[in-house]
Symmetry: C2
Subunit: 311 residues, 2 copies
């Protein structure tokens, strides 16, 4: 326990905000910003499932925060702070912890969040991490998954499929360097700070793949989602890999771009709200059910990927 307290004092207390009470109390205390609703989300990352033993600890820390921050972004929320639980093998190198904490610090500064509290434990088998992110939103303005209306356009931010291709490269299945794709799979960019209230009617972030996550929006609204595969934006690096990777791009996860439902008249307002971030209309919500991916000649494309048939 002595060692645990020293570790908290050295690496984590400096990351604590006022709410964290120096990480010396049983819980964090904070006054919610007046006139705001609270948004809260949690996500875990496990060694062997979400990362590998030799992955850079700073990137693991930042990805843990960013996966959660992306959930806040999908709700239209502004981040406030977070709690962290860590289960580490007893012989976890001190240097790993120092680098992990450095990664937290980097992203705390980028996203203006503070550590509110947490818990540490020993682990018998590998590393287990959980972050719980708190954010705020104007009352009634949280973006939900179930708000799409028939005729709303389906839009996506940024480019789709880079992370899946980057993972393919990291697994040794792609020739060439593909640094951009790899970086996209290692460190997502949560799409925070877009003022989408009154512009979008529904939102979700792409964590499980465009098709599957779009399916959540369609089911939430009891509508069908029809998209054109050739309209789904690809980065130059992804496009260069050609049509053979289309299915991987559209069904692969971890992009952390947003899928948005946007009424027909709001396209320009959406582009303005997104500023330098590209946003692309890829289809439309219609009466019916399921996700339908069309080719440029409007024939229906069928994918083999697990999960697809479910929608």
């Amino acid at each position: 326990m002595t060692h645990e307290f020293a570790r908290i004092e050295t690496y984590f207390a400096p990351l604590a905000g006022e709410a964290g009470l120096g990480l010396k109390d049983d819980a964090a205390v904070f006054a919610p910003p007046p006139g705001r609703e609270m948004v809260i989300t949690t996500d875990q990352m496990l060694e062997g499932v979400h990362f590998l033993e030799n992955d850079d600890p700073a990137l693991i820390a930042r990805k843990l925060l960013r996966r959660n921050l992306s959930d806040l972004a999908a709700m239209g929320a502004e981040p406030l702070g977070y709690l962290l639980t860590m289960a580490l093998p007893v012989d976890q190198p001190e240097d790993w912890i120092a680098r992990f904490a450095k990664g937290l610090e980097t992203d705390q500064n980028i996203f203006n969040i503070k550590l509110f509290g947490g818990d540490s434990s020993s682990s018998k088998h590998g590393i287990a991490l959980t972050a719980t992110l708190l954010g705020t939103v104007a009352p009634g303005m949280a973006l939900r998954r179930n708000g799409a209306k028939p005729g709303d356009g389906i839009w996506v931010t940024g480019t789709v499929g880079d992370a899946a291709l980057g993972l393919e490269k990291r697994r040794g299945h792609l020739a060439g360097s593909h640094n951009y794709l790899v970086s996209r799979s290692m460190l997502p960019n949560p799409r925070l700070g877009l003022d989408l209230a009154g512009i979008a009617t529904a939102a979700i972030d792409i964590s499980d793949g465009l098709v599957q996550d779009l399916g959540h929006l369609a089911r939430g609204a009891e509508l069908s989602a029809v998209i054109r595969a050739d309209m789904v934006p690809a980065s130059p690096e992804a496009a260069a890999l050609g049509e053979a990777f289309l299915e991987m791009r559209l069904t692969g996860g971890d992009d952390y771009e947003l899928i948005l439902a946007v009424p027909p008249g709001n396209g320009e307002a959406l582009k303005e709200a997104c500023g330098t971030l590209t946003v692309t209309r890829i289809g439309v919500f219609q009466p019916g059910e399921g996700v339908h991916v069309l080719s440029s000649s409007e024939t229906v494309l069928e994918f083999k990927s697990a999960g697809w048939s479910h929608f």
Copy 2:
């Protein structure tokens, strides 16, 4: 993933409160109760560290909630809701999950809390669970660890050391049945609902053992804590085991009773606030440092346990 969604729908969506949005969204949304501060805490339980493979899943669920609820109790907070992350082996029996969810439901009803959200994942090695509990407190009235003043009495709720003795029994190291002690180690009773604001100046719950947790209060206040071993309340079952178990009672963890700092004039008010729950004065905070345990003849007792010398 299909399986994951079905599992959430079957077992966890029925546990969700309004804030949880049916567990269908990226995050939970809630309006903080007007005029209250928020209190938030998180705690994890891992197979092989905090519980064993064959432990009752309902009790694991309830202990996970109660460890966190005890942290809220130590801050004087009223519980509101929680988030849950679960990492389970892919072949985790459906029955285990059903019983785990039933345990959550039982304690949700007892403590009037709802599930706000969470995350589930597969695990390569055993079960990892994290709960994050949200509560509220009147502004400025959160009980801290650092509020004790010289002359404040040291009080504890309930009886101390039962859980450590119960664990000793579960490990096969005690003859006799000791059902009460075992039950105390399996299912703690968080000391919620005591209106201690204005009565206690500091509080902590006993998770790591009376001596160690009292040390946090002493260090927080930059004082020494002097207690009399014979005044530390023992249950009849613990007392029957005799003096040989004194050190185990005073240094063993998992009791989840509260240690309170209470100014001399507030003893009666404290007893009234605790109602039918016994509360016992065991010592006093004084200038100095460290935790000092005295015998009935006021000689200093030394313990071998790890952590003791640190204070």
